[in-house]
């Protein structure tokens, strides 16, 4: 696998060259939103976190802000803060100075909306010009970090799309690259298969621990995870139990050895296949992966979903004959011929691999073309 990307100071490679305006707190969203409207070429990222949070959620927000900023797809970042939040724009600037073109604005120091907007406009022009001058260079698969995700699962996901993606995950890992599998709630009942693949006993224990924590939290609230998941759409699509969904889900992760379990927004310390303890809800899950350094998301769907990401190209893969037709504009790779004609999974995998090379070299995905940039800042949650 070869691609042309943007080399970064830290040795990582971007497949996009975004200028990112990032709210450090919900209170900055108005300014960031306005800049996004005025400059369609920047990525203006708003979220609801950053103000008073419990310590564990506050830490996730801090790691997310850092992780999103250092994602290699981000060519330049401007932190927009209010001034009274825990993780300030100035702190983030100091943490990351030198890693890439970076700036910070604090609305309370700047003197309000108009002055902040004026400074943001100046920075947008300056950073857009700077990033436009950069050229792509050739790289190989060892510089790729992909994350796999499924959303709107139906019966085709576990049988066709996910195993096809699993082949690609293995190929990327064999080539020296990195693959991430998240969505913890989607492992219930499949943990034994994951534990068998863990490199060490400690990793096996880590897998059990995070499942324990989630199950115990739901029990504490008098609830059962399997009552909420699978969703009504999953059930209509033929999925009967959470375990059936999980067994299909983990096939996205292929068969490679598991190097460890990462927290949300935690960068894998070396290449290989990694699990990530993160939410199942699509935009929160993808956000956690983006903040961990994923450049591309391989996203399988059976029911069909338009969701994208502000940071990563999301490649939508669908094997449902009906949905691939009805929601064709939201699907990048149609694998329904595997259902209809019995085409091999390897053939499907080869098509995904070719598409990854193109997207990594600049081809836009359907979610990018249609302007989908869904984003949810992850927080401590059960599902």
């Amino acid at each position: 696998m070869r691609f042309e990307g943007y080399p970064r100071n830290d040795g990582e490679v971007g497949v996009r060259n975004h200028v990112l305006f990032l709210s450090t707190v919900v209170c900055s969203n108005g300014i960031v939103h306005q800049i996004g409207c005025e400059f369609p070429d920047v990525v203006a990222l708003e979220h609801t976190k950053g103000c008073i949070e419990l310590a564990d959620d506050r830490e996730i927000t801090r790691k997310m802000l850092i992780g999103l900023a250092i994602n290699p797809n981000v060519g330049a970042v401007i932190f927009v803060g209010l001034g009274c939040e825990a993780t300030t724009a100035e702190y983030l600037f100091r943490e990351l100075e030198g890693k890439k073109p970076i700036a910070h604005i604090t609305i309370q120091k700047e003197g309000g909306t108009s002055k902040s907007l004026a400074k943001c406009r100046r920075l947008a022009r300056e950073f857009l010009e700077k990033t436009r001058r950069q050229k792509r260079e050739p790289f190989t698969v060892d510089k790729l970090v992909i994350a796999t995700k499924c959303g709107g699962t139906d019966w085709t996901s576990g049988i066709i799309s996910n195993p096809s993606v699993g082949f690609i995950s293995d190929r990327i890992v064999q080539g020296g690259g990195t693959s991430l599998l998240g969505e913890t709630v989607g492992w219930f009942g499949a943990e034994r298969l994951l534990m068998k693949r863990a490199r060490t006993d400690q990793i096996r224990l880590d897998i059990l621990k995070i499942l324990h924590n989630r199950y115990a939290e739901a029990e504490r609230r008098g609830r059962r995870i399997e009552d909420a998941n699978p969703s009504p759409g999953n059930r209509a699509g033929g999925i009967s139990t959470l375990v059936e969904k999980a067994l299909g889900n983990i096939r996205k992760g292929g068969t490679s050895v598991i190097e460890g379990v990462l927290g949300i927004a935690e960068h894998p310390p070396h290449s290989g296949f990694w699990l990530m303890d993160n939410p199942g809800i699509d935009p929160a899950s993808v956000a956690g992966m983006a903040a961990a350094g994923a450049q591309i998301i391989l996203f399988t769907t059976g029911r069909g979903t338009p969701t994208g990401s502000p940071i990563c190209p999301v490649i939508k893969i669908c094997a449902s004959p009906e949905v691939a037709k009805v929601m064709a504009e939201n699907i990048d790779i149609d694998l329904s011929d595997i259902v209809i004609q019995g085409t091999s999974l390897v053939n499907g995998a080869n098509r995904i691999e070719m598409f990854i090379e193109q997207v990594a070299s600049g081809r836009l995905t359907q979610s990018e073309l249609l302007g989908h940039r869904e984003f949810v800042m992850p927080e401590i949650r059960t599902l």
């Binding site: 085709t156 115990a216 009967s240 139990t241 375990v243």
Partner: protein
Amino acid sequence: MVSSILRVLHIEEGDNVVNALSPLEPGQIVEVEGLRVIVRSHIPIGHKMSIKNIPKGNPVVKYGEIIGYASIDIQIGDHVHIENVEDPISKWKDQYLLLSVGETDG
């Protein structure tokens, strides 16, 4: 694996359910690994059909793994779904709750 007429998918040898690759109707006959199964209920595309009798309380097996337990007696040729399959997680929960509090720290 995929049968020549492409109507059902039997994923692993030990599975007692198959996935319908086209909608199936009562009375239709499906061949699975040399076994003739008479369809007993409407089965939407992709949904599961039993290829064995599964008495109440017995495992429903797909991908070679238990995906649930029969909540009522399931007969060969039945639609296998939420009406007759119970999620196994609550039965297995002890393995998630076994760890003492100390072990879950960090």
